[in-house]
């Protein structure tokens, strides 16, 4: 402690103090990024307890390795609060840029603001932060990713066209309280209500997990034998639901349509097999696009507020052809 002069201590302290104000008043410019041969890059991951997150991390690591950048990787283990602390430790370590996959819209604002204050540009991946509190181009560089609400909407729109008279829906929600669960539910529910003629007979959480998804689907299929559509918020629960449907002596794809989001290889294979009717991709391979955006930003380019990661859509028409490119 004695090595630190009183002045730097106080300066840092005031900087932290200013943080609170930064929440409502955007006053500083977006930090710039110098053009260098190599960078020290931070990647603050939310959690790594599902295949999608693991694929995302792998993609980031692979791309950093390819470019020869040093990657500081942290894992918040599902805690928004820890993720903010992780970002702070990256700031302390003096990284050049931070890729942040925010666990939630609101609680990560302090992390974004702290980085901005420290002059480190932040790029958001796969989830955005609350737009009323922080803005792309001002507080952070951009948001790369897809729209969870839109994903749910796309599923609903496909269903409206291809239901073939099926109408009673069981919805398997993601982990209660998580933003993809909320958004995928919101997008789907709104669009399906607008389409008319459908009824969501049951909607329960399956925790994004295969086992829980199966158990919940088993119970719901028993209680609602007339249900003929299962909409799962991710592949794992959809695959669990297929097992439940088969155990109940019904044929997935024929008696019951299964719809999913994420589009991993196993799910796309299920589409090919006719077990899943359709799946919206949510591409986890962020590496190339993330580092490309970073390079553009370093070159002084103006980055659009939302770099859209285009998501594919798989159904019987294209699944076989696209199978090899699924993650």
């Amino acid at each position: 402690m004695s090595m630190i002069s009183r002045r730097t201590f106080m300066m840092a302290a005031t900087a932290m103090g200013a943080l609170a104000l930064a929440g409502s008043v955007a006053y500083a410019e977006l930090p710039a990024l110098a053009k260098k041969d190599t960078y020290k890059v931070g990647f603050a991951q939310t959690e790594s307890n599902n295949p999608w997150r693991i694929a995302q991390t792998e993609s980031m690591k692979a791309e950093a390795a390819k470019l020869g950048y040093q990657l500081v990787y942290t894992d918040a283990a599902g805690s928004a609060a820890k993720q903010v602390a992780d970002v702070n430790s990256m700031i302390a370590q003096g990284v050049d840029v931070i890729f942040l996959a925010p666990r939630e819209e609101k609680p990560l604002i302090p992390a974004v603001m702290a980085a901005k204050k420290a002059g480190i540009p932040v790029v958001l991946l796969d989830r955005n932060v609350d737009q009323s509190l922080a803005k792309a181009g001002e507080d952070y560089v951009t948001f790369i990713g897809s729209d969870f609400i839109d994903e749910g909407k796309r599923v609903a729109e496909w269903l409206a066209k291809n239901a073939n008279g099926k109408s009673k829906i069981i919805e398997l929600e993601g982990t209660t309280g998580s933003s993809p669960a909320n958004d995928r539910k919101k997008g789907f529910d709104e669009a399906i209500t607008a389409a008319g003629g459908f009824e969501i007979v049951a909607s329960q959480t399956g925790d994004f997990a295969r086992d829980k998804g199966r158990q919940v689907a088993e119970a719901l299929l028993q209680a609602h034998p007339d249900a003929d559509i299962v909409y799962a918020h991710n592949d794992e629960m959809a695959i669990g639901a297929i097992a439940a449907i088969e155990a109940a002596g019904k044929v997935p794809g024929k008696d019951i349509l299964v719809l999913s989001i994420d589009g991993g290889k196993e799910a796309v294979q299920a589409v090919v097999d006719g077990k899943i009717a359709a799946v919206v991709e949510c591409n986890p391979r962020f590496g190339p696009k993330a580092f490309e955006t970073m390079a553009r930003f370093a070159a002084g380019e103006k980055i659009e507020p939302w770099v859209i990661n285009t998501d594919k859509f798989y159904d019987a028409s294209n699944a076989a052809a696209e199978l090899s490119s699924a993650y």
Partner: protein, 334 residues
């Protein structure tokens, strides 16, 4: 030696005491029956073989783990590591039969090994729990906390967090197969429960488990190998957790080290508590534990089937645990 005294007249017990005793003995059963009746009236399509099938297969793993937990709790301990041990066994089995670990070609042998080796592995971890508890006198809650934290990490490291997807009907027989029309995992559950019940009731080691939980010092002074008995229950708990882990991954055609057995320790402890074995040790009611697990499962099913949201279900579960334990203790004091 002939001091025969007219023994005092049989104690007059008030009806309130009787009610409490009855409630504790048959309370869990009564709750089970009440739930059944409630479902018969309220839940749509409750009466069907498939409903029975669904509930039995879902409760199987909880029962298997909770039986091991009952033994540990009977010695006055607790095992928080069961969920992590399930993940370890669940991660190890596919590695074996998918040929990643052993240079063996014969599928039959691989399948057999993929049952034996993972369970031996988690038994070793169970032994480790017992070792910490007996050798270093570390409180069980702390000792098993170590593997609760690190165990799942080990499984994740081994699989690099990746999902292992497989299709192997032979291995998956334990979950998908049927024996005389009964799902294999249900058969396993029944066998485990009966064996454990007999172990506690009729075997020497079973009675020694109860004695150790009832009064450890006295047990040691009567020559009971206390350390060995305690280590034994952790090993058994580990083995049963491993078995449950294998069933879960077989059921899902996939092993996910991140999620297999997550939160299982709480379900198992709740089943033991609802089933009437107090956490203080000295008692092991296996049938009660089975019934406790059934009640918890049926509550879960009831809430799911009737569209009660997850959040409310948590509160119901909390109330259930408190009421069950309260009745148990009330009767115990009377």
């Amino acid at each position: 030696m002939t001091t025969i005294e007219t023994s005092s007249p049989p104690a007059v017990r008030s009806s309130r005491v009787n009610a409490a005793k009855l409630l504790s003995r048959y309370g869990t059963f009564a709750a089970f029956i009440a739930l059944l009746i409630f479902n018969l009236i309220v839940t749509p399509n409750f009466v069907s073989w498939q409903t029975l099938n669904v509930n039995l297969t879902q409760v199987a793993t909880i029962v298997i783990v909770a039986v091991g937990m009952t033994l540990v709790i009977a010695t006055g301990g607790i095992d928080l590591s069961v969920g992590s041990l399930m993940a370890i066994a669940g991660a190890a089995a596919p590695m074996i039969f998918m040929g990643q670990l052993l240079p063996i070609e014969n599928m039959g042998i691989l399948i057999i090994l993929s049952f034996i080796l993972p369970i031996l592995l988690v038994m070793a971890f169970g032994w480790f729990n017992g070792f910490l508890v007996t050798r270093f006198s570390i409180q069980p809650i702390v000792a098993t906390l170590v593997l609760f934290i690190a165990g799942r990490g080990l499984a994740q490291v081994a699989t690099n967090g990746n999902l292992q997807v497989f299709k192997n009907p032979d291995f998956q027989f334990i979950a998908m197969g049927r024996i005389a029309g009964i799902p294999a995992q249900v058969v396993v559950m029944i066998i485990v429960a009966i064996l454990a019940h007999c172990l506690i009731r009729y075997t020497v080691i079973g009675r020694q488990i109860i004695a150790v939980g009832g009064n450890e010092k006295a047990a040691r002074l009567t020559g009971i190998p206390v350390r060995r008995v305690k280590t034994f229950v952790y090993v058994i708990s580990g083995a049963l957790a491993g078995l449950a882990g294998l069933i879960v991954v077989a059921r899902n055609s996939a092993s996910d080290a991140n999620l297999v057995g997550l939160g299982m320790e709480l379900d198992a402890i709740a089943a033991v508590a609802v089933g009437g074995s107090l956490l203080t040790g000295g008692r092991a009611n296996i049938l009660g534990t089975v019934l406790g697990a059934f009640v918890i499962q049926l509550v879960r099913y009831t809430l799911l089937a009737n569209g009660v949201p997850d959040a409310a279900a948590l509160i119901v579960k909390a109330g259930l645990i408190i009421v069950a334990v309260f009745i148990q203790q009330r009767a115990d004091k009377a």
